[in-house]
């Protein structure tokens, strides 16, 4: 197994000079390729802050984060933007598709930023829309899609750059049960079939139940890190 994320002793402190508040407190985190991990914990436990730091959106005040062996805490902000573009896929809670672009253009947007040729973009977009089951909605604007459909497009967008891993911040929080289940099916399948690494922050029991590893954060610290809410027996496709 290849290491994708290796966070060493990372901390994020607010008000360091008055009353320091540790959003993330000396956390060690190690994720291998193909993991399907849920980061859980109560509100304010530091889930989103940890995800932001792993995603290169925020810098830790202490510690180092290695992605595929590269210490991203040392990268300049422009290098980080480029790093995110090529290595990390994001799925946000409120879908956050660009409303003036069609579903297809939203997915294609990332590949345009990567300067991929049009032919390759077309192929990849079509494959992604097949995978999320929205081939017939490709040319719709986000406003004409349901919440579940928008979030599926957001997953396709996250995967468009062929990232090392996908960070999803409460991806099912705004979805009904059916849409949430559908989305989880898609991500689960992509994880199993394409070996894509997923790290979720979530409160959602449905996500937690599907995760193969659950990390619980309390007051910015890892309270527990347990593999397999689901067992490998439930995933016959996985190697034993």
């Amino acid at each position: 197994m290849k290491t994708v994320i290796d966070a060493h002793n990372i901390s994020k402190v607010y008000n360091p000079e008055t009353i320091p508040v540790y959003a993330v407190n000396h956390v060690h985190l190690h994720l291998e390729q193909g993991e399907f991990t849920a980061l859980v914990g109560p509100s304010g436990s530091g889930k989103t802050t940890l995800l932001n730091m792993i995603g290169g959106l925020d810098k830790p005040d202490e510690g180092q984060i290695f992605i595929k062996g590269l210490d991203i805490t040392r990268l300049s902000s422009s290098a980080l933007i480029n790093f995110r573009l090529h290595n990390i896929g994001f799925v946000f809670q409120s879908y956050n598709l660009i409303p003036v672009l069609t579903a297809r253009e939203n997915v294609e947007f990332i590949m345009q930023l990567q300067n991929l040729p049009e032919e390759l973009r077309d192929k990849r977009v079509e494959k992604l829309f097949r995978e999320i089951g929205l081939e017939d909605k490709m040319n719709e604007r986000p406003s004409r899609l349901s919440g579940g459909q928008q979030q599926r497009v957001a997953v396709a967008r996250a995967l468009a750059s062929k990232p090392q891993f996908v960070l999803a911040d409460e991806p099912t929080a705004n979805l009904d049960s059916k849409s949430a289940a559908n989305l989880l099916d898609i991500m689960d399948r992509l994880n199993r079939e394409e070996n894509i690494t997923f790290l979720f922050s979530t409160h959602d029991q449905r996500v937690i139940e599907r995760a193969r590893r659950v990390i619980t954060l309390v007051d910015g610290k890892i309270a527990s890190d347990t593999a397999a809410v689901r067992t490998d027996e439930q995933h016959p496709s996985l190697p034993g």
């Binding site: 925020d58 902000s77 933007i81 995110r84 573009l85 672009l101 990332i110 930023l113």
Partner: protein
């Protein structure tokens, strides 16, 4: 994407585009009006006051001493009339003197003219509002301006005395009868200038067949420098002045108005820039989270900056053609019909030498300058919103 972003809030964008169009229209309309006024004033100066060029004895214009007649005037006049590009040339005897009536007196400039050439040179015949033009059968007739007629209570047929010094410095006078009253666009001139026949004047001045001035009208305004140079080359001893030198205040006014036009346009556009900045800042504020998402996904700051710049420019330039088009159509309409500004004070405008019927003209020559002003407006308006977007931190933007 920038173009689509503009249409997120259609009403807001349309209002801004319309305000740019209206601002541009207003600016161009004022420029067109200025241009029409300046052109009318210049035409008045050239066609009915000074001509394109004037020839004098070099000492004459210093204090209008009648002894300084133009040497070889008749020969020069004939030669000028034969020159290419010359429409007409008319001689004038000129002196300053006093007009007296039983009711009072007034200082005047007396022009001794040959009726035919003078009518063509100063359109005196077209300006006549009362009485008649010179009658060949009658001697000592005078045509006076309306303002002077009102001031001195004169009407056609009234008698008056013109007094002035002759070429030897002696005071001479002659009794004249008002033949007609003219009214031009230049009220001060109407109060000061009177016309008599050249022969009547020369008899009093004792200058024989000599005269003091040749006024030259050309076929084209553009020929003035060339023909002035040619005349100067031919008659080195004569003073040859263009209308700009004869009426420097008109030239100054035209140039000043040109500069004022750009200043006025810049002020209008600067005011509009605040509206554009406000709109764009609102748009950025509303899209803070979206911009954060774009940055998180890997959009460089330069791209975000350029997106905002492009949106602002599109917003600005979208209203520009409409402004130009409306301005062009309305100016073309008034250029044909004329715009009557007599309601703004006919007397006032006339006292400054301006006609009240203005034919606004589209300032086509200012088009590049106007586009530059619009471009600068867009640039200035885009910088602050673009900087605001540039300074966003993705993690903070995502919290919104």
């Amino acid at each position: 994407m920038a173009w689509r972003n503009i249409w997120r809030n259609k009403i807001r964008s349309i209002i801004i585009m319309l305000s740019i169009a209206v601002g541009l229209f207003a600016g161009i309309a004022v420029l067109a009006l200025y241009k029409g006024m300046m052109k009318a004033r210049t035409r008045t100066v050239i066609d009915s006051e000074a001509g394109h060029l004037q020839l004098h004895h070099p000492a004459f214009t210093e204090d209008y001493d009648p002894k300084f007649t133009l040497r070889n005037g008749s020969r020069i006049l004939q030669e000028i009339r034969r020159m290419e590009g010359v429409k007409l040339a008319a001689p004038r005897s000129i002196t300053n003197g006093m007009l007296a009536t039983p009711g009072g007196s007034s200082g005047v400039q007396i022009m001794g003219v040959l009726p035919g050439p003078e009518y063509a040179a100063s359109q005196l015949d077209k300006k006549l509002v009362e009485g008649k033009l010179f009658d060949d059968a009658k001697k000592n007739q005078v045509i006076i301006g309306r303002k002077l007629a009102v001031k001195m209570r004169l009407k056609p047929g009234s008698k008056l005395v013109l007094m002035f010094t002759d070429s030897s410095g002696s005071i001479v006078s002659g009794a004249f009868r008002v033949a007609g009253i003219y009214r031009s666009a230049n009220a001060p001139l109407d109060e000061r200038r009177v016309y008599i026949r050249m022969k009547d004047m020369n008899d009093l001045l004792a200058t024989g067949g000599a005269f003091h001035e040749i006024v030259v009208l050309l076929n084209s305004d553009e020929d003035v420098p060339r023909i002035q140079q040619e005349l100067q080359h031919k008659w080195k001893s004569a003073s040859i002045q263009s209308w700009r030198e004869i009426s420097p205040e008109t030239d100054l006014m035209v140039n000043t108005t040109n500069q004022l036009s750009y200043i006025l346009m810049s002020i209008i556009m600067l005011a509009l820039a605040f509206g554009i900045i406000n709109t764009m800042l609102m748009a950025i504020l509303e899209r803070t989270r979206e911009i954060g998402i774009m940055m998180a996904l890997g959009t460089t700051r330069l791209r975000i900056f350029m997106l905002v710049i492009l949106e602002t420019w599109m917003l600005t330039f979208a209203g520009t053609p409409l402004g130009f088009l409306v301005a062009w159509f309305s100016i073309a309409h008034y250029n044909r019909q004329g715009m009557d500004l007599s309601g703004m004070g006919k007397e006032l405008m006339s006292s400054f030498g301006y006609s009240t019927l203005i034919y606004p003209e589209f300032p086509a020559e200012k088009f590049p300058g106007l586009l530059l002003i619009v471009f600068l407006t867009a640039l200035v308006s885009s910088l602050l919103p673009a900087r605001k977007a540039l300074m966003m931190q993705p993690v903070e933007a995502l919290r919104r």
